[in-house]
């Protein structure tokens, strides 16, 4: 059974990879299998997770308000009126409901996460003055003592020393103006300038000329730096996925799996080469 599984896994992986060459019958087989299986899965999920779990079980349950579930069922059923042209307009009620509740859910959540929290996190002092209060000095003193103790008591426990040092540096950066304080201020300024200029880029009601253009250019520069970093980060993630597939293909090349990878690969190349020759002959025939 394990060998069958290995052959299916290798076959389908190579079928999908064959798209890198060009559209071909192997890819079409993989593609149609993929779509068919996922639709089948989708239907089964809908049946059990939505109809059975959320409707049937509720209706056949004992809750005194169980028939309330018929209201969303009715709204959902209105979508089916699209199949009857004369009453197809009723499906719009369902759309209105779906879009209405979607907007109702999305607006407060978007306002909170994209506006309120972001604005609150951006509005910070651009320059931080040291906190000369006795409390701050005492906190630094305590952190220093803890750091010294960590160095003495656990010489080999790097993690503990690092954590104690981190706490000490953090504490010191509040009571004194240190490199960490300067770095934090620099970050705050960069974030503030970035937010300010990027927001300018997204003004649609004014022509981007003069100072507005300058601000929006800086804004797009920030965006491009972010895109570059994000691109690199995601590509690294994708490469690790590719490593996984390649390692599987390598594993399935072994005798215990019946040399699945090399056998399927060679067969595929042979078939594709034969198809290429056949199609070339056809094309030349058409040209003649």
């Amino acid at each position: 059974m394990e060998i069958v599984g290995a052959w299916i896994a290798v076959g389908l992986t190579l079928f999908m990879f064959s798209f890198l060459y060009k559209d071909n019958p192997f890819y079409k087989v993989g593609e149609n299998l993929y779509v068919g299986i996922t639709i089948g899965y989708f239907v089964i999920q809908l049946w059990y997770k939505t109809w059975i779990d959320k409707v049937w079980d509720v209706l056949t349950g004992q809750a005194h308000d169980r028939f309330v579930i018929l209201i969303p069922v009715l709204i959902g059923a209105l979508l089916l009126t699209r199949f009857v042209p004369k009453i197809a307009w009723m499906s719009r009620w369902a759309f209105a409901f779906v879009i209405g509740y979607g907007a109702g859910l999305a607006i407060p959540a978007t306002l909170t996460t994209s506006v309120v929290i972001q604005a609150q996190a951006t509005a910070k002092p651009l320059v931080t003055m040291p906190d000369r209060s006795p409390g701050a000095a005492k906190a630094t003193e305590n952190a220093k003592a803890a750091y010294d103790k960590a160095k003495e008591g656990a010489a080999k426990e790097d993690e503990k020393i690092r954590a104690a040092r981190y706490r000490y540096e953090q504490s010191r950066s509040v009571s004194e103006y240190t490199f960490l304080t300067a770095y934090r201020d620099f970050t705050t300024i960069v974030i503030f300038v970035g937010v300010f200029c990027v927001l300018f880029y997204f003004f649609f009601s004014i022509e981007h000329r003069g100072p507005v253009r300058a601000f929006s250019r800086v804004g797009i520069l920030f965006l491009m730096i972010y895109f570059g970093a994000s691109y690199g980060n995601t590509v690294m993630g994708r490469l690790s996925l590719l490593y996984g597939r390649v390692l599987d293909l390598k594993d399935y090349s072994r005798q215990m799996y019946g040399f699945a990878t090399p056998v399927i690969l060679v067969l595929m190349i042979a078939v594709l080469a034969a198809l290429h020759v056949k199609n070339k002959g056809k094309d030349e025939g058409h040209a003649a």
Binding site: M16, K22, D23, K28, G30, E31, Y34, V35, I37, T38, I39, Y41, F42, D57, V58, G61, Q62, A63, H64, R82, S91, R92, F95, V98, I99, Y101, G102, A103, L105, A106, I107, P108, L111, T112, V115, V116, A119, Q120, T122, A123, K124, P125, L126, V127, T128, M129, D131, S133, F192, F196, L199, F202, F203, F204, S205, I206, F227, S230, Y231, T234
Partner: protein, 430 residues
């Protein structure tokens, strides 16, 4: 006789001592109050009591019972030096006064032996019902090496609330922004409002024209999210405008879908566009079709269609995930003009790389207004711009205030933490 009296007095003393073994040992805790947690789903109650002079030695315990006479279970405990009302998690307009003079603890359940019991009875997975929340009795117990004290039992039932007042600030923002937008919609009905040029959208005419000349279809994708997503709604609006041009030029448009509801909405929108363009007979309901809801199943199918049909133009509007590059790269390999628009910031780099034009973030929302010049959409766009201007102004003022606060002395504090003033608290909410 004397012996009997003495023994009686001794027995009464022992009994009294057993009933309240050390009530006199600790001074009574002041201001003990048990209340329902405001603005919640009926899952918890809260206890408050005043800070006491001997707090450093005291451990406070909230005890709960389902009848006045017990048995009592431990619901929560805290050292006397922790858990004050200033950290209760509520914004300043809710909950008890924010300070370190008042202890605060919220309780949503208790430990009965090995079992954790929630105050709100759990839902029965079979009957999908929940038993009514019973009445509970709560008391506060203060314990220290010197002795203990306990408050009288208070009867209380957690209740659910219709409004979450902790989100009041968000509600007010929403009202303010809605007011601004409605005002500008009204203005846009009276006169034409300016919208700056958006390069990606100027390419729409070019793309539709190219498809007409080549006799090849246009592929329009609405993203992976459902109709409740803002970017999907924006994608459907843009589809309406592009479908009008497609209908006018009598070109073919194909809209493969991954969500059945979005497909049904888009079918309606496309039909409306064909009617608006005066070509209702040319409308094909099959132009919008469902592929599969699986991310990569959908991608594999659309990639295959692109390679086979070699579209003249591909539009990727809406929200995308990991499939963005797979789609855009395949589209680019077919030689199609590609225009993408998404607010999925992680996918934007891929569209920027593989497409001819990319609408970044909010440009996607502006696209509907830009293409249609509809007063409602244009007014909404102007309203959003005013909203952004307000946010920018607020950021400038608050940052200036916070920075100046570092240099001045207020109430003997320097630097004064301006981030603690109510404006910041109001911004933050809960």
């Amino acid at each position: 006789m004397l012996r009997v009296l003495w023994l009686t007095a001794l027995a009464a003393g022992i009994a009294a001592a057993q009933e309240t073994p050390s009530k006199a040992a600790l001074p009574p805790v002041e201001g003990v109050a048990f209340e329902d947690v405001p603005a919640d789903n009926g899952a918890a109650i809260q206890a408050t009591w005043k800070k006491m002079p001997n707090d450093a030695e005291v451990t406070y315990r909230i005890m709960v019972a389902t009848s006045e006479n017990g048995p009592w279970f431990l619901a929560a405990e805290t050292p006397g030096t922790e858990n004050f009302s200033q950290d209760d998690g509520y914004p300043f307009w809710m909950g008890p006064p924010k300070n370190r003079e008042l202890h605060y603890l919220a309780v949503d359940g208790y430990q009965a032996g090995e079992e954790r019991v929630t105050l709100m009875p759990p839902e029965d997975p079979k009957t999908k019902t929940r038993k009514p929340t019973p009445d509970y009795w709560f008391k506060l117990v203060a314990e220290s090496p010197a002795g203990s004290w306990e408050s009288p039992a208070t009867k209380l039932k957690p209740e659910w609330n219709l409004f979450n007042w902790a989100r009041l600030n968000v509600f007010l923002y929403m009202l303010a922004f809605a007011g601004i937008i409605l005002a500008f919609i009204q203005i846009a009905r009276g006169r034409q409002l300016f919208i700056r040029r958006i390069a990606g959208l100027d390419a729409v005419d070019e793309a539709v024209g190219r498809a007409t000349e080549m006799g090849k279809p246009i592929f329009y994708l609405t993203g992976r999210n459902g109709i409740t997503d803002v970017s999907t709604v924006a994608a459907t609006l843009i589809l309406g405008e592009i479908a009008k041009k497609v209908a006018t030029y009598d070109t073919t448009i194909k809209v493969p879908h991954t969500d059945p509801i979005v497909m049904a909405v888009c079918q309606e929108i496309t039909r409306e566009s064909y009617i608006a363009a005066g070509r209702p007979d040319s409308f094909k309901p099959d132009s919008n079709f469902f592929v599969t809801d699986d991310q990569f199943g959908y991608t594999a199918a659309v990639d295959g269609m692109m390679v086979r049909e070699k579209p003249a133009a591909c539009f990727y509007m809406g929200y995308y995930y990991a499939e963005s590059l797979l789609l855009a790269e395949t589209g680019a390999s077919t030689g199609a003009i590609q225009v993408a628009g998404t607010d999925a910031d992680h996918q934007l780099p891929f569209f920027v790389t593989a497409c001819d034009y990319t609408l970044i973030g909010e440009e996607l929302y502006a696209a509907g207004a830009y293409l249609s010049k509809e007063p409602v959409l244009v007014g909404t766009l102007r309203g959003q711009d005013i909203g952004k201007a307000v946010i920018l102004a607020a950021l400038l003022v608050l940052t200036a205030v916070a920075t100046i606060g570092q240099w001045v002395t207020v109430g003997g504090k320097k630097p004064y933490k301006w981030s603690e003033i109510w404006v910041f608290d109001f911004l933050k909410g809960s």
